[in-house]
């Protein structure tokens, strides 16, 4: 069937006729528009009109009315349009997947929102509760910090742009949703006005987990911990499925609404990664208390396991109501990790010797009883399955940590007590909704451009002093080559 191609065809095409009938109204509307256009711009160049129509056609996905336009589009110079094969009625045979596509246009102004109250102001920006004037919807406004000092002339912060992009791409019930991005008023007026502030309009969530943990008199019930952890796991699994590393999971970045829903927030450190992970990822990520040992030891390639470590720390924090590993600096953090999880051995973490900061790490050659994990002892009330999960998440070897999906399938979530239904979750008075929040004493996420701490020649052979009394160990020191 070497007939002519469809766009060079004539109106007689039978299938087309059917389509035209089907979409008669669409077509009428289109023609009216065409007529209006013609009147407006009689002298418009032929090419211009062709392209408009073509795009219009595409946009509205109209099958009707095509041949005449397509004919015009056939370029003058000679090359055969594609030769049709036996199947000539495109579109009639199978259902084709159409991709939903948004569009773009200038950002709106922040003047569309009324500020209600400040929520917090930290090193990484300012957040306020606000109301959209038009709809009355309550949202959280987060201002991006723009550093425009003469010494820092790098334009818009890539972290902010990445955060916006990632949030725009995400849609999950356990991830805070970004409604839009707005700018200071007047940015659109004239080109000479600079864009001075950029605000992320985020869904307003009443609490963050950190303040709840600080203020509650009774710890979360086992069933409540499960609900929170499972939601965290679901959110992180979604991120990892979509090739996103969060890189700053901690309780102050986990929000909780009054319906018991947990939402992951603050994607200032997040980025897209591939598989294999891109080289030269910055090691300076994740707030110190939630930072995994491979990052502390200077790993340049890392992956989802850094988020899983943070989840382990959060799990421990939910149980203990205080951060699990509160190191004062990188060395102290590493010390605390080894105290809790044991000292890396060739069995527990075969590849750790290859990490930049581990080359000169001297570990005591004691028995595993002296240098093994004490997680079981630290959480005596946790069930065996819970301990197994926590141990897995806090594996020194990143390859041994479960993935988020594996975590969700863990026996811990199946055993009694079952995770509490979200709707049954207790509610708390919302600080964000009413008053200025107490300043947090958690260390902040590392800043971009800071130098990664070199562990230096700190001697911390005394970590296991207590244990060494019971059993002889060499102690270990870390020195830089």
């Amino acid at each position: 069937m070497a007939s002519k191609s469809r766009w060079a065809d004539t109106e007689e095409d039978a299938a087309l006729e059917a389509k035209i009938k089907r979409e008669k109204e669409e077509k009428k509307r289109l023609k009216a528009e065409k007529a209006r256009k013609a009147a407006e711009k009689a002298q418009a160049e032929e090419a211009a009109r062709q392209r408009t129509l073509q795009a219009q056609q595409h946009e509205e996905d109209l099958d009707a009315d095509r041949p005449s336009k397509r004919r015009k589009l056939t370029p003058e110079h000679d090359h055969d349009p594609l030769k049709p094969t036996s199947q000539s009625q495109g579109g009639d045979s199978g259902k084709l997947l159409r991709f939903e596509a948004g569009s773009w246009g200038p950002a709106r102004s922040v003047e569309n929102y009324d500020k209600l109250n400040d929520i917090e102001e930290g090193a990484y920006g300012w957040v306020a509760r606000a109301k959209e004037i038009q709809t009355g919807k309550v949202v959280a406004l987060k201002r991006l910090k723009l550093d425009d000092s003469p010494s820092n002339r790098v334009g818009l912060p890539e972290t902010g742009l990445r955060e916006i992009q990632i949030l725009k791409d995400c849609s999950h019930r356990n991830i805070v949703s970004l409604h839009e991005v707005v700018v200071n008023d007047g940015a659109s007026d004239s080109r000479s006005r600079k864009i001075e502030s950029i605000f992320l309009v985020l869904e307003f969530v009443e609490h963050d987990l950190k303040s709840i943990l600080e203020d509650m008199s009774e710890p979360f019930l086992a069933s409540e911990v499960k609900t929170l952890l499972r939601q965290l796991g679901e959110g992180v699994a979604y991120l990892h499925d979509n090739w996103i590393l969060h890189r700053d999971l901690k309780t102050s970045n986990l929000l909780l609404n009054n319906r018991g829903q947990l939402k992951i927030a603050d994607f200032g450190m997040a980025r897209y990664v591939g598989d294999p992970a891109p080289p030269k990822l910055t090691q300076l990520v994740v707030t110190l208390w939630y930072r995994s040992p491979e990052l502390l030891l200077g790993a340049k390639t890392y992956g989802n396991a850094v988020d899983m470590w943070s989840i382990g720390c959060i799990f421990g924090e939910l149980l203990a109501r205080e951060p699990l590993l509160q190191g004062k600096n990188e060395v102290d953090e590493l010390t605390q990790i080894f105290e809790l999880c044991g000292i890396p051995t060739d069995e527990s973490w075969p590849s750790f010797r290859r990490l930049p900061n581990a080359r000169s790490l001297r570990v005591p050659k004691g028995s595993s009883a002296a240098t093994g994990s004490v997680i079981r002892a630290r959480f005596p009330l946790l069930t065996a399955a819970g301990t197994a999960l926590l141990n897995g998440l806090l594996s020194l070897d990143p390859d041994k940590r479960p993935s988020a999906r594996e975590m969700l399938r863990h026996e811990y979530f199946v055993q009694d007590p079952k995770p509490k239904h979200e709707a049954m979750f207790p509610t708390f008075p919302s600080k964000a909704g009413q008053e200025r929040r107490r300043r947090r004493e958690t260390p902040n996420a590392p800043g971009r451009g800071q130098k990664a701490a070199e562990l230096g020649s700190v001697d911390f052979s005394g970590i296991f002093a207590g244990r060494e009394r019971e059993e002889k160990g060499g102690g270990f020191t870390l020195r830089m080559l």
Binding site: G91, L96, W104, L161, S192
Partner: protein, 320 residues
């Protein structure tokens, strides 16, 4: 889905570009093509991966559907988009390097856009020396435009490219039983060429359609035998869309040839500039004004205005 889909231009945006802009269509097309070529050339000199440069091409095309092309110098917009997409990927560029590369490409020593003469132009380093003052001014323009561009796109900088999809599709088609390198290269060539097309193919079609059209064209070029059925439907492209894209992609070469012959003085003597376009419009007896939107804004805030703004900010902060 975000990794394989793009936001697309609306009818309204395309209509406004094609009919309401003071700039005649043919000049718009020439400017578009030249600027996209400039971005590609700069990407090569900056050793950026094509993924970053191609994203810059798409971002620029989107931006020009919001702001008129005449609103800023074309090469500045090109530099700003490249700066932006390089930063967002994993290959950030120093502003200094970008300014140097663009200064070179815009100088008479650059062979870019020097069609009539076949000899490479004489290399005169003083022609592309960038003084400190010129650097600061260029840098300022890039930063201002960067903000302007992301604002105009409501901060959506996501661009899904068809290249990886095309390779995946080729794998599914067993590389059309051709040498892998040969057919893949041809496909990628079509996709890269389409970036330069003033038909804005990347703004009107999803990556899967672009990938299928490139494979279709490449198959014809290398003489590969394709399945007898409507194989493109497997990749969710209908025949209409495929046909249009194939024609669009294949016609660019002829269009460029014609441009070189016809639009003398615009292409062929270095990069097209706003000044050159305005001169051309005067020659044709067209007004340069662009509905009050074409006049260049003041490049810099003057010192006093900056001071006043800072004071205002302080006051606002105190009041908060």
């Amino acid at each position: 889905m975000a990794h394989i889909t793009n936001t697309l231009a609306t009818v309204d945006q395309l209509y406004r570009r094609n009919t309401l802009d003071a700039l005649p269509q043919d000049l718009q097309d020439t400017i578009f093509y030249a600027t996209q070529c400039l971005t590609q050339a700069a990407g090569i000199l900056l050793r950026l991966p094509q993924s970053a440069t191609a994203q810059a091409n798409v971002v620029l095309a989107r931006y020009w559907l919001v702001d008129s092309a005449l609103a800023n110098e074309f090469s500045d917009v090109s530099a700003a988009t490249l700066f932006l997409t390089a930063k967002l990927g994993s290959h950030p560029c120093q502003p200094r390097d970008i300014c140097n590369v663009y200064t070179y490409l815009l100088s008479p020593s650059s062979p870019l856009f020097q069609f009539p003469s076949t000899d490479p132009p004489p290399n005169d380093p003083s022609a592309y020396y960038l003084s400190e003052g010129a650097y600061t001014a260029f840098h300022n323009r890039i930063l201002r435009l960067e903000a302007r561009i992301v604002y105009s796109l409501s901060f959506d900088t996501h661009v899904a490219l068809p290249h990886p999809l095309a390779i995946t599709y080729l794998q599914a088609l067993d590389f059309l039983s051709q040498p892998k390198a040969k057919v893949s290269q041809r496909v990628v060539e079509y996709l890269n060429t389409a970036l330069l097309s003033p038909q804005l193919l990347y703004l009107t079609h999803q990556p899967n359609a672009l990938a299928v059209a490139a494979i279709y064209s490449a198959a014809r070029d290398v003489g590969a035998k394709m399945p007898d059925c409507a194989w493109w439907e497997v990749f969710d492209v209908d025949r209409e869309e495929l046909g249009f894209l194939v024609v669009g992609m294949r016609s660019l070469e002829g269009w460029v040839r014609k441009q070189r012959d016809e639009v003398e003085g615009l292409l062929g003597q270095g990069m097209v500039t706003r000044k050159g376009v305005e001169a051309e419009m005067r020659k044709r007896g067209l007004g340069v004004g662009n509905g009050g939107n074409g006049a260049p804004g003041p490049e810099e805030e003057d010192e006093e205005a900056a001071m006043m703004r800072k004071l205002d900010e302080r006051v606002a902060m105190v009041e908060d």
